[in-house]
């Protein structure tokens, strides 16, 4: 199974085991059982009513995914950390405005994506625009068609594979990368992605198709039988 190849590991040096630090002392609004805490909307309801530990649990549940998201969008660790931190702080400040029309995680992803996008724009002003129409269909014809063989990703060690994925996604133009990250990595729906980025549904679909084709082509250089590895 493919997913078994991607186990959690620490960025940088070695595995770091850190005890969970409670953000505050226990409070009377805490949920009564750990079973109930499995459910995101109960955690959100508890956090809204002042249960700090419930919010802490939400942070602990999603911090890695939100950091991955902000890293994928900004491609810069400092910006990714700032964007993640501000996303969690803003989500706490605006928790009362969260109506529960979507999953809390989806709402959080939208906040984090906006924070990351702002930093990307600051770092690369005038370098890209989400509003620009994409080119016609003529450049969509795939090039570099070689057989990858079975389980191409298994030819690489986990850390090597992570590096490859990080490199290829960083090479993707931001207007395509953002859509791919929200739609295919964070698994937002097309409509949620469109809403998060202020794009139309057809624009999301068009960018997603290009992103997928471009990433396939970039991975082809690593995965083709007898290719560079």
């Amino acid at each position: 199974m493919l997913c078994a190849n991607f186990k959690t590991e620490t960025l940088g040096a070695g595995v770091i085991l850190i005890p969970r630090h409670p953000l505050s002392t226990p409070n009377p609004h805490r949920l009564p059982s750990t079973v109930a805490r499995e459910d995101e909307h109960l955690l959100v309801a508890a956090a809204k009513s002042g249960d700090v530990a419930a919010f802490e649990e939400l942070v602990g549940r999603y911090e890695r995914k939100i950091f991955r998201l902000t890293m994928n969008i900004t491609g810069n660790r400092e910006d990714a950390e700032d964007a993640m931190q501000d996303a969690f702080l803003k989500s706490y400040s605006h928790l009362k405005d969260f109506q529960g029309d979507s999953r809390f995680y989806t709402w959080l992803v939208r906040i984090a994506a906006n924070e990351a996008l702002m930093r990307l724009r600051k770092r690369r002003p005038n370098q890209f625009s989400l509003d620009e129409p994409v080119a016609g269909d003529e450049d969509l014809i795939p090039r570099e068609l070689q057989d990858w063989g079975p389980g191409p990703e298994q030819r690489f060690a986990q850390t090597e594979m992570r590096e490859i994925l990080s490199n290829v996604i960083e090479q993707l133009e931001p207007e395509y990368r953002l859509v791919f990250v929200l739609r295919d990595i964070e698994e937002l729906s097309t409509e949620e992605t469109a809403s998060a980025l202020g794009l139309s549904v057809p624009a999301v679909k068009s960018r997603l198709l290009r992103a997928r084709l471009k990433l396939r082509e970039k991975l082809n250089r690593y995965f083709q039988q007898g290719g560079a590895n």
Partner: protein, 79 residues
């Protein structure tokens, strides 16, 4: 459907958003076109690899700074 049509509908096909008639048409083309089969299979694989890649553990100092900032925020909110 020709090769260009397959590429045009590739995302809809992978996402299961094609209507039955178009889907059968596309699958008929795939049955006879090895190049399009490669593109479809490899694009699916590309998505699968990214989607299955678990996020890494937060670096210790990053997590500490995040939780420290949250504690400050919560303290402010409580005052």
């Amino acid at each position: 459907m020709n090769c260009q049509g397959v590429i045009h509908e590739l995302s809809n096909f992978i996402d299961g958003e094609l209507d039955e008639v178009l889907k059968r048409d596309l699958e008929r083309h795939l049955a006879g076109c090895e190049e399009c089969r490669l593109v479809v299979d490899q694009t699916k694989k590309t998505i699968e690899i990214f989607c299955c890649c678990e996020p890494v553990e937060l670096p210790g100092e990053v997590r500490n700074r995040l939780h420290e900032a949250l504690r400050r925020k919560l303290k402010e909110a409580a005052q």
